[in-house]
């Protein structure tokens, strides 16, 4: 870095007098901009080609199920995939979150549920999640009984359930 700066300074100093008198405005501006381009281009090439290589290798399903880093470890991908196959297109569903410590219903935006909920809402779109109880209900963090539901059928995915009433 230091060597590069020194080389730049020396080159700048040597060429200064000539350049200042001889160089037309358009070429002076172009050289400054070209300098910035040279500085930024390697990073652009590296990040872009790395990204292309990485995502080219991903399969269609992997792409479909890839998630942001902050969500990836908390989402329940199996539940989302199963619910996507079970809940009819155009149907609505409800989301219930239960605090496992108190056994009480809490907002799905509560700690630990928000990431799951965001992923579910995105995966199940354009189906709409509504506040009122629906035929299809997703229970986060508790069993259907603990959530006060009497299901016709229920499917468990770790701590979460898909309930059909």
């Amino acid at each position: 870095m230091l060597a590069m700066l020194v080389a730049l300074a020396v080159g700048f100093g040597l060429g200064w007098a000539v350049v200042r008198r001889r160089l037309g405005p358009q070429w002076a501006a172009a050289i400054v901009l070209l300098g910035l381009v040279v500085v930024t281009a390697p990073r652009f090439v590296n990040t872009t080609t790395d990204g292309i290589r990485r995502e080219w290798r991903m399969g269609r399903q992997a792409v479909r199920r890839s998630a942001p880093r902050v969500i990836a470890h908390r989402r329940n991908a199996r539940l989302a995939k199963f619910a996507d196959s079970r809940i009819p297109a155009g149907a609505t569903y409800s989301l219930i979150a239960v605090d496992p410590r108190t056994g009480r219903r809490v907002s799905p935006f509560g700690r630990g549920f928000a990431e799951k909920m965001v992923w579910l809402q995105f995966e199940l779109a354009p189906r709409i999640a509504v506040d009122e109880p629906q035929r299809w209900t997703i229970v986060l963090g508790a069993t259907p009984a603990e959530a006060g539901l009497s299901p016709r059928r229920a499917f468990r995915f770790d701590d979460d359930w898909l309930v059909e009433r």
């Binding site: 172009a30 910035l36 381009v37 652009f44 872009t48 995502e55 792409v63 965001v118 189906r127 999640a129």
Partner: protein, 486 residues
Amino acid sequence: MIRDAAGLAAAEAILAVLGTGLLFAFGTWRRLPRWSRPGPALFAGHAGFAAGMTPLVYLGVSPTPVVVGALAAVALGGGWAFDRRRRGQPPAVVQASRAGFAAAAILAVPVVLLAVRASLKPVSDVDALLDWTLKARMLAGHGGTLIGALDVSYLTGSTYRYVNPEYPLGVPALQAFNLHMFGHNTDLRVLHGSAIVMFAAFMATTWMLLRPRCRPAPLVGGLLLVTLLPSFVAVAVFAQWDFMLALFVTATATSLWLWLTGDGDDRLALAALFAAACLATKMDGIGFAGSTFLIAAGACAWRRRWWELRKLAVAGAAAAATAVPWQIFNRVYGLHERAIRPSPARMLRQTGDLPEIVRRIGHIGVGPHWGWVAPLALGAAVWLIILRTDLDLAVPFVALVATQVFVLVVAYWNHAITLGPLMGASLSRVIATPQLVCATALPLLLERWWARWQPGAVPDARPIPGNAAQRNAVGGDGIEPPTPCL
């Protein structure tokens, strides 16, 4: 994926038809050389979609190919009929230059790379999942061919409280249109390609607008630099809503500056179109587009050009009118911004946050990830102001960047959630707008700065021969003379 790419190409073709109609109506079409037309037409089409389709979505119309196709047909028919009234004026005699083709060839390399990168990227951004693409899937999945896409239950339901329901639906509507063209609502990768196509169209538009004012070498260098800026590339791939806003705001500012410096009234019409697109893209668009028009109004008032001030007011009102359905919708359903809530009491209470806000904006603004474009451009502009030359460029530029930074400072000053995470999550994206303005103006500023600073330089306020300002100075006829402009 090939089918998606074909769908995207068809969507862009429809938007290009829409833009062609708008350029016809504004009179810009006949000022352009033949090979210069597709880029500006496509960019105007994107802006026209945002400005025209977004209010329609709030009125219950679906952003389907049938509706957008009809909109494009109406625009093309109306624009052509409008343009026929200009038949008395001779068409512009224009010639394409080799510089334009060379520029297109040089810029195509990074843009194609970027397009491939964006088109392979899965939807894996929290904001896309939470907000933009979620809304797009909702819009594409509901309603019929003509009406019913907007189901208010997901914008007003408590389980969707973090989808930013108060934001305008311009970007989701565009994505929903693309999803309709893909024919499915599942693999969303190619969706990102749309923004890069728009970026290519933006660069063609910027070339078309600025080429008469700037020589090819610096202009190509400036546009190439824009394409390669690391943070801008990140915004282009990962935060396309802010990316689109930056493009629209910069196009608004460029068009307004050209209008102020005598480039013709069609530039004002373009500015109004792009400003309306800003308002349809993001909440920040109000501040950025508003400040651009405010500075233009200040310039008109300073020069006592009252008739032009009136025209500017009409253009501003037309742009603002497109946001009325959105604002009415928000008022009716009580939707409002959660993270930022402006109020004098809040500002007074949070005065202590100002140094931190200014420090963080300054830090990211002059950092290497943005290629030092802001300090360079502002330095050149301030130098020109000190020399009291090229004030028509330097003063509005400094005022615009200062106002945009002020808008950001005021927005963060009114934070209603914790400041640190808010700035951490958003500043690197929203700073794209002032940075793009700086990067676009940089070739002009550097060229003029060097010309004034060279020993023996003669102050020369004249633009490059052949542009509209010179034409107007000699009693111009409103027709573009031959210009070496692709």
